[in-house]
Structures are given as structure tokens and as C-alpha cells.
Symmetry: C2
Subunit: 202 residues, 2 copies
Amino acid sequence: MSRSIRGWVGGGVAIAGVLAFTLWNVAQPSAVIAADKPADKPVVEFSDDGKMKQPTGYRKWPFVGTPVTPNDMNGGDAPFPEFHIVYMDPDSFVHYEKTGEYRDGTVLVKELTSVGTKEATSGKGYFMGEYIGLEVSMKDAKRFKDEPGNWAYFSFGHKYPLKETATTAATASCNACHQANAKQDYVFTQYYPVLRAAAPKK
Amino acid sequence: MSRSIRGWVGGGVAIAGVLAFTLWNVAQPSAVIAADKPADKPVVEFSDDGKMKQPTGYRKWPFVGTPVTPNDMNGGDAPFPEFHIVYMDPDSFVHYEKTGEYRDGTVLVKELTSVGTKEATSGKGYFMGEYIGLEVSMKDAKRFKDEPGNWAYFSFGHKYPLKETATTAATASCNACHQANAKQDYVFTQYYPVLRAAAPKK
């Protein structure tokens, strides 16, 4: 990440000006600004042949939830091993705070970690180990016009090293399950207390 | 949170200017700026009699890790029920990226949620339910000069409604365990892959 930052930091004063203006616009009700993303840089990028490039900077996006589906509760081979750390891109998070909805362009990152230990001084349970995988979902009415709900899903792998780019997963392999089981617009909001609390009170 | 924001948003242009300057300073290597915190506002506040006020805005701070110590793996009554969502204040996170160390003034928030369900289409496991508690630790060489490592610990409760303020926990009840078992400067860095990855490579 730091390499790409060095690339644009030379124009930092100009960018800071743009950001200042952006901050002024989004300061109400509240916002997170990822300073390592210039205002005009897309949240995720695609190759010329339509593959998603591995996103960067997402570990500073708003966190929305962490389920854990450990291997030892799933026959030794969990479909999503094992902790899922789910983040949402900052601008879409701000939109969600205002509307309670996932705007066109929303990107959710699901980063996977192993279970490191199952007992600590705080009690028995599951504790994060090392990074082992990365998946992304994105809602885009133009790019994914043929996908149900305009949501597409990408896997950069379940072991390191991750793939640099990922193709859109077959509709049946991700979208269908989200469509059938996710409580709100293909997103498992039911497992994300952060988002439920962030949405406007009705 | 939004009420306090409205309080200062009137001076938004001036604040944006300050933030622009701040962004310019912290843009290398990278930073998260919580736009809902004016540059001169402390990360957490204390009452005149030394109690910590319940922090705000932390759900947009960098996420550092989530253990889960569920009640059903701890005799029905976990010491920390059940998911712990741990955040670090943004400026201290940036410092950690540069140095791999917890600077004086570091604030870590541990928000607790219940387990909502133990099975979903993604597999068997533990899925977040509702918010149930909030704890904070802070390193401050002046304020906590008598605490080992200058770390103090605060609990706003393990059920809602949370307490508005919290007194420093007795050294034996939190600090002693962190001192004895945490791998780095009283923090359980060993369970936080985000921080291990964020630290400079040696």
C-alpha cells in the first residue's frame, strides 16, 4: 500500500485541498476519510478484461462484523475458514448511515483469518491467528447489470499468496445463496450489529 | 454522536483547513481521519473527578481484532461475553504503523456483542447478535503514572444501558492479567493480526 501512496503524495497539498472540500461536504452527519485514497480514485479497480484487482487500504475501512465458522465446527474443512472480518468502503458506510441502504457502488471486503488458539486468560473461545484469505462483493448496476441485485462476488483465494486479480464468481456459487438467505439486499445484515446500529432509526 | 457533530460543524470550513494541513502531515505513509473528531478534541474525555466518559465515534476507528469467548464455552457465564470487537484510535494506529509501538495516549476500545446464532448458510460457528458491553483501555504516562506500564482499564458495563462514566479499574482486576499475559506492552497483540501486519517489517 505504501508504494502507491508515495506515488501521489507529491501532489499532497492539492489533494488535501480536495479532501478539505470533501470533508466539508460529508462532515454532516459523520464520515471516515481514508487519507490514502485520493478523492477521484475508485474504491476498487478492474483490469481491462474485467477482472477485479486486489483491493488495498480496506483495513482502515469501517468494520461491520466478524462471524467465525471454524474448521473444527465444520468437519475440519469450513467453507469460509475461519474468522471473517467484514469491512465496508467508507463512502458507502456514510450513505448507509443516512439511508440504511446499500448504495450503488458499495464494496464489502471479507478478509479471512485462521483460528490461532482456543484458550486465553479471557476465557475459552476462538482467537484470531493469521490472514488466510480474501473475498469481495460489489454492487454495481452498470458493471454487473446481469447479476441478480447487481451484486457480484470475487475470491482472491483461501490461502496465501492471494491472487492479484479475481474473476466474477458464477452466479450460482455466491449470489444465489446471498439472494436466498441475506436479510437485506444480498447482505447478511442480520449478523452485522454495526450496520444495524448505524442505520437511521425508523 | 451526531449531536456533538452538529455542535462544531458550523465551523466546518476552518476545521477543514486544519484537517487539510493534518492530512498533508500524516499522508505518509497512510492514515485514517475520523472526520467527526475535530483536530483538537481529545480521543476520550474525563470528568472533573477523573472518571472516563463513554467514548464516541470509535466504530469508525481502525479495527484490530475480534476474539469470541462464548458463554457456552465458559460454563454459561463468560468473563467477557461474547464477541469482543477491538478498535484503536486512528492517530495511535498511524503511530503503530510507523513504529510497531503503542504510543503514549493510545486508546483501545473493546465493544462486546452477544452470540446471535450458531448456524448460517456459511457454516456452523458463532455469529454476532446485539451489543451488550463496552470496555476501554488507555496508556497515559501522566494520568496513569502509578499504573504498571501506565495502562488503565475502564468498564462501562456488560449490559445495556451502559454507564455514562467509568472509574479506573483496580490494578489487580485488569492490569495484572494484561501485564502477565499480553505479548506486547500490556496489549494482546498476539490475537490481533491487523496490528501484526500493520507494524513495520523488521
